[in-house]
């Protein structure tokens, strides 16, 4: 018994180590470059392309190293009058939940491809993910800075508001697939509707997908919902006072959240690791190449949604704070509720 627990723990630790530092954090680092290059291209600029090693520029990829070095070499300033313990702790309080949620994300067809295939899967994500609001709020409060505090207030209000809509959006999907286990939901999306259309979440729940996208971007606090760090009025919001590697941690947290949203959208609405029109029969699932292909499909879809979020961030304008609140409470929430109602009725009638 004990040996089995230890073995399971070791397995989980290895898988987590491969998924999170190997994929999520690497992608997050890459995103710091992608975001600048992509925005530059959208705005007809060139973007960072000058960092080089021995004359090799590699499209500016070395800016990641340069930035990391720069962050590492900067002084970690703790402002006077702040609560130094909480100030130092806050980035980690935000970072830890953002990374832990990846534990329940099934990236491949079998249990081998998920760190921990929890039955409450998606609820675990909400439960842990909502903890990161503490990090931001404590950061803002402990900075002893009016701008930081206002940013922190906005963060907590915004995240709590959209948390509700986010969960309600997914309720429709749960009802359709009859489970909150992510692996079950993905497996359910392998069927074909009428033998033609893959039974993906976006097909059965289109309204929920678009609302989910809006709500989840609001959760990541990125444009158009980045009022908490609105530069014109709040300098940099709740992380105004951070510098050096602590500041880098905030960026990493944000990028990790972006990846999480992309994975959620992939898993719930775009068939997860499913390859369209290639149903995962047990025989096929048993082969290693099919498993690899599925994982690749999952990551490809994830990258696509990362790209979509970037593109949205550089397309849209920042909304005013009251607009964000109005949208969350007065539109997204009622529509989500209506969506749940309609889905329920439909399921009741077609049973």
């Amino acid at each position: 018994m004990t040996a089995q627990v230890v073995e399971a723990l070791v397995h989980a630790a290895i898988k987590f180590a491969i998924l999170v530092p190997g994929f999520v954090l690497a992608l997050a680092a890459l995103m710091s470059w992608i975001e600048r290059r992509q925005s530059a291209m959208i705005q007809d600029r060139v973007g960072p392309n000058r960092a080089s090693i021995g004359g090799v520029r590699a499209w500016g990829l070395f800016h990641i190293i340069a930035d990391t070095l720069k962050f590492a070499l900067k002084e970690n300033i703790v402002p006077r009058g702040s609560n130094p313990l909480l100030f130092r702790l806050a980035p980690f309080m935000a970072m830890a939940p953002a990374l832990i949620v990846f534990a329940v994300m099934p990236v491949g067809p079998t249990n081998r491809w998920v760190v921990s295939n929890l039955d409450v899967g998606i609820l675990f994500i909400f439960a842990i993910g909502s903890l990161s609001v503490y990090g931001a709020t404590i950061a803002g409060w402990s900075s002893n800075n009016n701008f930081s505090l206002l940013g922190a207030l906005r963060v907590s209000a915004q995240m709590i508001s959209y948390e509700v809509s986010l969960a309600l959006n997914l309720v429709g999907v749960f009802m359709v697939f009859g489970s909150i286990n992510l692996q079950t939901i993905i497996e359910g999306q392998g069927a074909l509707l009428g033998g033609v259309l893959p039974k993906w979440g976006i097909v059965v729940q289109p309204v929920a997908f678009f609302l989910f996208l809006a709500a989840s971007i609001a959760e990541t606090k990125r444009t158009p919902f980045d009022a908490p760090e609105g530069e014109p009025e709040l300098v940099s919001g709740y992380f105004t006072e951070y510098s050096g590697l602590a500041l880098a941690t905030w960026f990493l947290t944000e990028f990790a959240a972006v990846i999480m949203v992309a994975m959620m959208a992939t898993a719930v609405f775009f068939g997860g690791w499913q390859i369209p029109w290639l149903p995962p029969t047990p025989a096929l699932v048993a082969t290693w190449w099919f498993q690899i292909a599925c994982v690749m499909a999952f990551f490809a879809k994830t990258l696509f949604f990362v790209w979509v979020q970037m593109q949205l961030r550089w397309t849209l304008l920042r909304m005013r704070y009251d607009q964000i609140m109005t949208m969350g409470w007065k539109y997204i929430l009622p529509i989500s509720l209506a969506n749940v109602l309609v889905t329920g009725l439909f399921l009741l009638l077609t049973r």
Binding site: D44, F210, T315
Partner: protein, 191 residues
């Protein structure tokens, strides 16, 4: 103070708020349009930099206009000596007094006056080009296209005769203008 009354037609018209249509209220169509624009730019700029106008400066440089006034240079005669005869026209024309010339005599030459020292203080120079206009001998030019380089001390910003000559070249312009050049041609034939 009261604003003067203006006819109604000239007054600023209040902005009329129009009720948004349902499609507009949805935002998503507008977002879709926006995404189309940004994606078009993204794709076109990644594959071919269609819209990018940035000049990547040190490697790529905008060509200067022909009459750009850069760092000065002193032109040379056929034997490499300066064409300058130390007439001081340039230093007289100079509005910032940046040219220092000390004239000397060389009895062996046809043109016996020459500059022993010819120094330009680039910190004083305002690059107006008056010296070039004033020069009767096509000796000083500002057509090098070179920007003055920053220096660590004031002394280094003074270029001396040797430096100016090194940047110069032999010129075929004949002293004395159009008529003079005809005379010079004759002289060469006869001597």
């Amino acid at each position: 103070m009261k604003q003067p009354l203006r006819p109604k037609s000239e007054r600023a018209k209040p902005f009329e708020r129009r009720e948004m249509t349902f499609a507009e209220k949805l935002f998503y169509p507008a977002i879709w349009e926006g995404l189309k624009v940004t994606t078009k730019h993204l794709v076109e700029n990644i594959f071919g930099r269609k819209h990018t106008v940035t000049l990547e400066y040190p490697e790529v440089q905008r060509p200067y206009p022909e009459r750009f006034r850069g760092q000065h240079r002193l032109m040379q005669r056929d034997d490499g000596s300066p064409r300058c005869v130390a007439c001081m026209c340039c230093s007289t024309a100079c509005p910032s007094n940046c040219i220092t010339i000390v004239a000397g005599e060389r009895p062996e030459e046809t043109i016996e006056k020459f500059p022993m020292r010819f120094e330009i203080d680039l910190l004083k120079c305002i690059y107006c080009g008056m010296c070039v206009e004033a020069c009767p001998c096509d000796a000083i030019r500002m057509d090098s296209g070179v920007h003055p380089k920053p220096t660590y001390n004031r002394q280094a910003a003074i270029i001396d005769k040797e430096g100016l000559l090194a940047a110069g070249a032999k010129t075929i312009a004949t002293q004395g203008g159009t008529f003079g050049s005809r005379v010079a041609g004759h002289l060469k034939k006869h001597i």
